[in-house]
Assembly symmetry: C2
Homo-oligomer: 254 residues x 2
């Protein structure tokens, strides 16, 4: 059977989602736990590869197995064996045609800044510190320029070998919940580091280092050198994988 998993993790102590030689990853820790629980080796396919230090509230993955554990009990069996910074929130049987990555229609990420004189102790691993006065209104204006379908080559980390760099940002909302500033972004897909470059660009606008109109120019100019620095990984959380076209399962309220 094919099993769908919904997974939460604090990415602080991991070298990202995807299995690799240098460092322990979320994927391999999950695969080890599943192997111990079921006695079977299975590849756990994630919907999105998150980078080192990036978190997930609801990463989605799937695996194929012949094990006798009922699908909805796999979460319990795995959580017994997982470290507390990784939890399987849900497990359920999925159709054979379900693919965590290819069936996904959209993804929502949240980037969170902690805006205060000093950094936060309690939220140190899940927020990026930024001090001084932040112009939220200017950030909202810039966000409007980014929203929509554009060639996001200018918002892609250099070295990426993707050729088609057109993506659609369905929703890009900036909200202030002092001392937190949240940037919620939902898109059809994201180029490498795209969300963190959007976050870095919007905070530059908030700090008045660049104007909202500059962001418009970057979007039009297709020049990565004009976009801002990539914001640190720790502020980024994968919030949701959407399997119905975005806007059909919920209102677009950005």
């Amino acid at each position: 059977m094919r099993v769908k998993l919904v997974i939460e993790y604090d990415g602080t102590n991991y070298a990202g989602w995807q299995r690799q030689k240098n460092g322990i990853t979320v994927q391999e820790v999950l695969e080890q736990a599943f192997c111990k629980a079921s006695g079977e080796r299975a590849v756990i396919h994630g919907a999105g590869r998150t980078d080192a230090g990036v978190h997930a509230e609801a990463q989605v993955a799937h695996l194929d197995t012949n094990c006798t554990i009922p699908a909805n009990k796999i979460s319990y069996a795995m959580n017994m064996l997982l470290p507390p910074d990784i939890r399987v929130k849900q497990s359920a049987e999925a159709g054979k045609d379900f693919h965590a990555r290819f069936s996904a229609k959209a993804k929502t990420y949240r980037y969170t800044y902690y805006n205060d004189t000093h950094a936060s102790a309690i939220y140190r691993n899940t927020t990026t510190h930024v001090h001084g006065r932040i112009d939220i209104r200017a950030m909202k204006i810039a966000a409007e320029y980014i929203r929509g379908t554009h060639d996001f080559a200018c918002f892609c980390a250099s070295g990426s070998d993707v050729t088609d760099t057109v993506r659609t940002v369905y929703r890009l909302a900036v909200t202030s919940d002092e001392p937190f500033i949240h940037i919620d972004v939902t898109g059809s897909g994201f180029l490498y580091n795209m969300v963190r470059i959007i976050a870095g660009t919007l905070i530059d606008v908030g700090q008045k280092k660049v104007s909202p109109e500059h962001v418009k120019d970057v979007i039009c100019g297709r020049d990565r050198t004009k976009a801002s620095a990539t914001a640190p990984a720790r502020g980024l959380t994968l919030k949701e994988i959407h399997y119905t076209p975005f806007g059909k399962d919920k209102d677009i309220d950005a």
Copy 2:
């Protein structure tokens, strides 16, 4: 001069606030940082002693110093030397008669449960997991019985040598913000483990292990053996120390 500090910490990796032989404490780490920054040894007096694993968003402390660092810059100097799970949010000169502990009129704590099928990975250190359906309304009713001035002997950890066990709980609010359940309690002072026993009692009510009326009986009966288990430290955060009588600096909205 006397300096007032406002301190945030993630208590996960500390043996509590107060200096002791077994384990590293928040107080000693702060004193070491101040000593390195100023070249002076000073005792840092906290407003409240938090237990191992308990957090603080705004612990208040004071110290006396002859150092040349301006009072409002001491936070910056100390933060350069502190581990990231302890931050001095604010430092300011205080009057000679200000005492972090004895000047305090009230304290506010928050206890947070994470109510979902599985525990949280991201909030594992700041919440206590509880699964199943929780009756928030019953918890609110029980909270009303606890609020007020009572002999809280029944809500005090055994072994405490305090003789006067009468305390006033000014505010005790239970709020649901799914999957979180927050218990906010403000009191004139608290007996040892009192907030955690209140939290343990209220969740027993929410899980229908005991009725709200049972809590009323415990409050009246002065029998500790009838109160519930002490809730784990990790869910507890010291939110605020009040230096004006509670209710005068803000509305009581419980």
